[in-house]
Symmetry: D2
Subunit: 472 residues, 4 copies
């Protein structure tokens, strides 16, 4: 064996040693913030801030004028405290003011445009860029200096998102949030941690609360998902959000690609010495903060979890999801695809209106081919106006380079599963060797990577459709 210096990295002892100095850094980082807050009341006159009854936008203006570092931190803290206590109306007023009144300085911008137009030097372009930066970006940066500033700003954007549809003028503010969050939540600052039964309760209760796919019903249910030898959960954390996870994924280790969710989240005891484990199933991925919408973490998360699992269990061969198809039923309801179906198929579909169709084997077996083919078409062919897959979950996994591997009939018979997707679930396969290739083809040509089995279901449908097209 040729020993390179880096092989040391695989040494658990060595690693532990080396971590010792660093391991305290992060906590200090967080404690610094906390202490600032907690010490404030005791800091005395020199640090105090005159109680201000001014409206929030005026305070933000003042924040831009403050030059002293401490002064900025204190005013930012005050503003965020006031924001926290403000009512809906006051909050909206601030958001509007930021979007409207905290743009760039028109004079400086005019001058910069003029200079650029007289000669397009790099320096002129630089000044143009600088002078076009809206003042609200600096406001947000300074608010971020307050203790717990980042969390507060994530919540602030959450509020903003509620109004975005009704008030398109707020979009510029949202763009600034996204710009800054992308930098602050840089992948380099995200930390992957396993979440298990030894994780602090304060983190675990957030897992219960944030689980968005398959509801966790209390601590016992949580334990069933974390503690068994064949379960894993991983989350991304961020220094500024402390013990509040950003996104997490639940994983089951199995001996084959699962066909139904009940196999993964039921209570049945499992035989440890039993089946051969070779498959990791990602069966639930939950984003924790609406305010971080559009800042993508999922791809990194899955990649890093795949790598962590590979390290732990080298014999894992297959990494696959068991995913919902949240848009299928709605699409089917409004789609014209059904108009081309055979009478028999149409008849079968009519049974979907009956509450217990899935409990009646004969009906289910008639529905099966029809639903499967329609779902394949929905997932592979159907696109949003932006050219991406219509189904949001498909968009996410295909955008990560995964492959649509298999459709599973009667896979999720919970009310939600039946309502959203007539019980269908999907496996997306993460094959490390083809992720990048798939991704490139998806990103450049919109190509959906699908297994032969899925593709073959689509082909006839498309053919038929093109047949129809010809017929027209």
């Amino acid at each position: 064996m040729a020993l390179s210096r880096t092989s040391r990295e695989n040494d658990p002892n060595g690693a532990a040693e080396r971590e010792t100095f660093l391991s305290g850094l992060l906590s200090h980082l967080m404690d610094q913030g906390r202490r600032l807050v907690s010490r404030r009341p005791a800091a005395g006159p020199a640090w105090s801030l005159a109680a201000t009854g001014q409206p929030l936008p005026d305070l933000c203006r003042a924040l831009l004028d403050r030059t002293g570092e401490t002064a900025q931190v204190l005013l930012a803290t005050e503003i965020l405290a006031r924001w926290g206590a403000a009512d809906k109306r006051q909050k909206l007023d601030l958001l509007r003011a930021l979007a409207r009144d905290f743009g760039p300085s028109p004079e400086r911008l005019e001058r910069a445009i003029e200079a650029y137009q007289s000669e397009a030097t790099p320096l002129a372009m630089h000044e143009l860029h600088a002078s076009a930066e809206p003042a609200r970006q600096e406001v947000l940066r300074r608010l971020n200096l307050a203790p717990m500033g980042t969390v507060s700003l994530v919540r602030m954007r959450e509020e903003l998102l509620r109004h975005l549809k009704d008030e398109p003028d707020l979009r510029v503010l949202d763009a600034d949030f996204v710009h800054l969050f992308a930098s602050w939540f840089n992948r380099g600052f995200l930390v992957l941690r396993r979440v298990d039964w030894t994780t602090p309760a304060s983190v675990l209760e957030k897992i219960i609360r944030y689980e968005a796919v398959h509801e966790i019903r209390g601590w016992s249910d949580l334990r069933r998902r974390l503690d068994p030898f064949d379960r894993r959960c991983f989350a991304f954390f961020h220094p500024q959000l402390a013990d509040d996870p950003i996104i997490f994924v639940e994983v089951a280790l199995t001996s084959e690609i699962p066909v139904a969710i009940r196999d993964l989240i039921n209570d049945a005891p499992r035989d440890e010495a039993g089946d051969q484990i070779n498959t990791a199933v990602f069966y639930s991925i939950s984003n924790c903060h609406r305010g971080l919408q559009g800042i993508s973490f999922g791809a990194s998360l899955i990649r890093q979890v795949v790598e962590a699992l590979k390290r732990e269990l080298p014999s894992l061969e297959t990494f696959v999801t068991l995913s919902p198809v949240p848009g299928f039923a709605a699409w089917l309801a409004r789609s014209t695809a059904t108009s081309a179906l055979s009478a028999e198929a149409t008849q079968a579909l009519a049974h979907l209106d009956e509450a217990d169709w899935f409990d009646r084997p004969e009906i289910a077996s008639r529905l099966r081919p029809v639903l499967m083919e329609l779902a394949a078409r929905y997932l592979v062919v159907e696109k949003s106006p932006d050219g991406l897959p219509a189904d949001p979950v498909a968009r996410f996994h295909l955008g990560n380079g995964a492959r649509l591997e298999r459709l599973n009939f009667l896979a999720d018979l919970s009310p939600k599963g039946v309502r959203q997707a007539h019980g269908l679930m999907v496996n997306y396969l993460y094959d490390l060797r083809e992720l990048d290739r798939n991704y490139e083809r998806f990103a450049t040509a919109g190509a959906v990577a699908a297994s032969r089995a899925v593709s073959s279901m689509v082909a006839p449908a498309s053919r038929r459709r093109s047949g129809r097209a010809k017929a027209n």
Copy 2:
């Protein structure tokens, strides 16, 4: 006592508890990067990168085109490795190319200007800002994704700074570095750690290397500065720079404001039970990375150290520096201030050319009032073209809100001390109650905060000068 929730923050036990979950985060963060590097060779064909003989600028262009996350990380890693191995010429070529060829897209920018000029909506301003962003910022952001990317970019700017004077066209690139570094080295990500004899040797050797004010001569000397009961050293660390400190300060705990550096860094044993300690002396502050020049950490460092020391030793009353006056001798040599001196004073100054003047008490005592007054004038009155104090150390401390407290004659008789400042040193006082006020007056009116003793030395000089002015 009314117990607020935050009082829990002062609970060392509680704090320790809470740290447990977080304490591993940072090391994970760093290890993620390291692992990426170390695993690369083993990652196999899917992750490999075709060996590229292309010039670095072309690779940077390719980096902008890559869409897959892994692809970006690998290419960034490759570029930085190639940069590390490049010669002076190749490096300069890349820097020039970045400054010249990676600006904004002219077409998009033109369109944005046009749109803005037709109607100055917030959205138009936003697009103007976005379209004026030079492409090199995105290049730097993507390079930062590589393992050890941040360190490499700090070194890259170090290289850039060497050429800045000769090639002003590179300044736009430098501005981009500063913009990005300001965000990445955000105060919120800096961690204050005490450095002492229990600190890892790998950190300590860097302290020895980086000490910029009073050279550390090996491990025994280092120990004398770190280990005694009345010595402290604090440094800022950053997650992405691991165990490489960013800036550090050495502190001596004393019973009075020291008048000479030899009292602090000599070898004499000290009686622990002896004097009453009430003063913390910051006698050496060293920035560790030239590549971070202009990103200011010193003010935060001193504030946080003052707070940490206050917490540890509540009876500390005075926080003061013992600082060099690096520009004094050079200023004196070229200043016209001396022309107005009395004959006696001029005669005394002539002795400065003699090597051992400070060893001759009679001469020293004649020089003392002359030098002190001139130094007071240099520090309080003399300004750079930018209106800030001429002396760089004065500029730093006064800019932090400190007060020029005392001048010390024959305070540093090392060759460097005599050469730079004729042996003078200065105490700047950090009085928490007046830091912000001083800072505001300094920032807005350029006012130098000085003790009465120092001010009174300046007054006559100024008066004399204004006298002269009148006489003209």
Copy 3:
């Protein structure tokens, strides 16, 4: 301030620094054990142990013969695994065998006695001591080398204690357990940790399970005891028992000495900014392992918790318990003390048989003086045959040097509280300034430290009793 070297110990930063190297030690310690276990199956032929069908006592004999370290560890592991799987009968057989057949060697002992009797040299005494050591102590020491050995031995003694009453011959084995446990669970190895909502769930579920005084009903109830700003919980942990606490205490922070348990464990929201906090109330102390009975941790725990709280909240003035009086009702039922009561008192006592006497104010007010006086007598005067206070809780707190401060009527109206003590609870006061004095007087003269209020209740009763005594 004269700065001694030790003042550094109060420096939270400094402390954190110093901890970094040590902080990994313990986990390594535990992991070593775990790894040994987990690796065993894979360790291959050289480490394997021939499956042995021999009875456990024979295996213990073999364990004494083994000389190789690894051989000992493997056999010890095997024995403990077999013990874990054994039935009641087999377990008892082993305990009996250890007590009966694993004594000292009679021959060696005879020789040692002879030598000692011929000349009582120190060496002869040493040999006498050594030769009288029962072989079972070495058996237990070697079993302790197995991974999780200590836990297994704690469980083994738990089993032993079940038989002790019926089989007095087992007492010598119990004495050996106590001797060894006292050394292994040396106070120096116990670690005080705060338990709160950031503690791992795996620890918290044990707190729920082990709570012995006031039952915790699930995770929400637990959170109410741990998370509010005025609640604390501290536990002792031991390296060899990992995340299994040994003993823990629950604390409420209040503004006065509480008179009833419902004030501490009810659900009512509490106003953080409200009352002045100056009192710490220890309202529940639970030993976690029956197998450690007789190895006392409570005194150390309370002392250390008092110190930790003092550090966190310097304004805490009063440290007090709110304790049950578990033996009161039983004592009252069989006591002759009641025979000397007035008719009125006797009549009042008769109401205790009615289920809801405490809900009837008129009756309660008649019972109050009678019960209080009897309880004072029970606690202050009544002794076990061993001369210690009859009440086990009183014995514990008085033995720690605490003072019996106050009796509280209608303080615990839970079924258990009414059944055991007719609803009475007691405050024991921990006054650091008098703990040692109280302890010495308690240990040497059996003196019960009691407040004037309590003492004055006892006096008349005693007088009356001595009155009766005279009359006889």
Copy 4:
């Protein structure tokens, strides 16, 4: 792959997670002790101890009388402080007093003997054992409760060992030390940590100081031993000795079994990408505390290091020492073995008196076979009076189950190496598959495990010797 629960142990992420709660325990443990000390002066009258001018033995007597826990800790602290300040004479007085005056109680012992002789019940034996325990054991146990008590007792035994030869009466005290240390320094409490360049300087300076085999000349030399990619150093630490290592081993990773020490500790740069690494060489093992003499750690250390290295570098195949033969030259000087040598051999040996014989190839080549054969005989055949190998290093490694693999001529030409062993060094091979078998044969039959190469050198010598024996 059948996944057992224990496979989780191999998960670095999982492991890190689980450590988080535990990782603070140990530091708390140590800090508890430190705090006790540091707080003492401030603890006020209730905790204070009347300054005592009494002799140390009287204080030890008083320590046995104290019943209060705090009282004991304070008095123990006082005694150890007084011991630390005592002169040689006073120390010896205390040691003598402990050995002579702190035995068992004769009365109680007599009664116990009587009872035992009347009927040898288990209880009687137990009482005999208990009553024969010398009071000094309890003294030592209580001294151990003082902060830093364990360290102080290790130093106390160091002192004791200096007098043991001259005062055999002290031996009983030494036996008590050994008995207690064996329990306190139980393998279960030892923690293996890698020592490298990221280890705290406070630990590293101890490594420099304690290195007993091949002197470390300052920090640069230390770095050469710790930092290169093919070097390792591991140490055992103990909670009560904090950052003071107990024993450590230095390891070089090589591609073959080394023949000379200069190959391992010279300065030459090494090519990382170069040779294939398959061998771990233990080239220096140092015990750090004389006071722990006789408490064996080395066997555990080597075993655990072998396991740690195997985990880090699975391709390591050979674990071997490069060891000195410290007793060889002295044995040779006094041995009669040489009398049977051929004239030629005797002549060759005479050259050993010349300072530079090893620099003269012709002489060296003549000496080689003679010295090698004699050394083989010394190591394989020669025994101490106790039947163990005469050479202390051989005794250690053979006692661990290692095999004498190879003798190396001209392997250590340092003055010490030449003086002690005429430049010879030895490889002991640790083959995990035969360690236990070798150990058993060594322990039971005194058999020395040796490679065929070494055995074959001994055979003729023995034969010759037995030849001689017959001739007599």
